[in-house]
């Protein structure tokens, strides 16, 4: 068993504890009542989605800087995990919006920039599938990731920059002290799970990329076949 498998197991145990506390032990939120319990699932997902996509940005810089496939594999591992977490984040948010705002979606700056972030990083993964040459793919993916990352600080700071329907940042400083512990435990749980998945994926992707990069070129066509093709 590798260390990331242990980290994954710890993450799931912590997630069960954090979610259990959020569902059954944390007090009801004053305004949102039971819907406020979505906080303990939604906010950690948001934090970790942005952290994962930020790691993708640093991996992209590393890939461009060094040209090493290890960084290239890290870009894909973190981008694909970040994309799934961002999609989950948007779903959780819409499920929270319905009972509190009265509708599932609003073209609010935070929601809109988050949706754009998802589209941008899906684009990164699509580009990665389209380019087959490993060297060219490394460069193109890294550039696309750096471009897509520009939206991450916009998502994070958007609630400060614009008047938004979405509430401001939830953190231990902005929520009641009784909510801090389940929020913190769930956040570390999601972080551990996300990091473990990224490392597991990194090993797999790196093996594949290295195999592609070191694969011998196809042999030249036999002389008879080449001749036959010319005659056709």
């Amino acid at each position: 068993m590798r260390w990331e498998h242990g980290l994954l197991a710890i993450g799931f145990v912590l997630l069960a504890i954090g979610h259990g506390m959020g569902l059954f032990m944390a007090p009801e939120e004053a305004m949102m009542r039971e819907a406020g319990r979505i906080l303990y699932a939604h906010v950690p997902t948001a934090w970790v989605a942005l952290v994962t996509l930020t790691l993708s940005f640093f991996a992209a810089v590393g890939a461009l800087w060094t040209g090493r496939y290890g960084w290239d594999a890290a870009v894909e591992a973190t981008a694909e995990t970040g994309v799934v977490l961002t999609a989950l984040l948007l779903f959780q948010g819409s499920m929270w919006a319905k009972p509190t705002w009265g509708y599932y979606w609003d073209w609010d700056p935070r929601l809109t920039t988050s949706a754009i972030l998802l589209v941008l990083f899906v684009g990164v993964l699509v580009v990665r599938r389209v380019v087959s040459d490993p060297e060219r793919r490394l460069t193109v993916t890294a550039i696309a990731t750096i471009v897509a990352f520009v939206d991450v600080p916009v998502v994070y700071f958007g609630v400060k920059w614009w008047r938004s329907l979405h509430q401001e940042w939830s953190s231990p400083q902005t929520v009641d002290s009784t909510m801090v512990m389940p929020l913190r435990i769930a956040a570390f749980a999601m972080l551990f799970i996300s990091l473990a998945i990224c490392v597991i994926r990194w090993r797999t992707i790196l093996a594949t990329v290295q195999a592609e990069a070191t694969a011998p070129d196809l042999p030249a066509l036999p002389a008879e076949l080449s001749l036959a093709e010319k005659e056709v």
């Binding site: 498998h5 994954l8 799931f12 997630l15 979610h19 569902l23 305004m31 949102m32 009542r33 039971e34 819907a35 319990r37 979505i38 699932a41 939604h42 997902t45 060094t66 040209g67 090493r68 496939y69 290890g70 960084w71 290239d72 594999a73 995990t81 799934v84 977490l85 989950l88 779903f91 959780q92 499920m95 929270w96 319905k98 009972p99 509190t100 009265g102 490993p134 060297e135 490394l138 999601m190 799970i193 473990a196 998945i197 597991i200 994926r201 090993r203 797999t204 790196l206 093996a207 594949t208 990329v209 290295q210 195999a211 990069a213 070191t214």
Partner: protein, 57 residues
């Protein structure tokens, strides 16, 4: 939204949404983990890359 709910900021009976969110979260993270673990079992050369950052282009 019902007029009586304006100001309370909340409708009653939101447990359904809460359960859907928590269930979706578990489905997604468990799904991600299982997919990653299954894929890693099928990649033989992975064991040769322990700790390395791969070859240079």
């Amino acid at each position: 939204m019902d007029e009586s709910q304006v100001g309370s900021g909340m409708v009653d009976g939101a447990w359904g949404y809460v359960i859907v969110v928590y269930a979706a979260t578990w489905v997604v993270v468990v799904g991600l983990a299982v997919r990653a673990l299954l894929a890693s079992r099928g990649s033989g050369p992975a064991s040769r890359t322990d700790g390395g950052v791969g070859g240079s282009t």
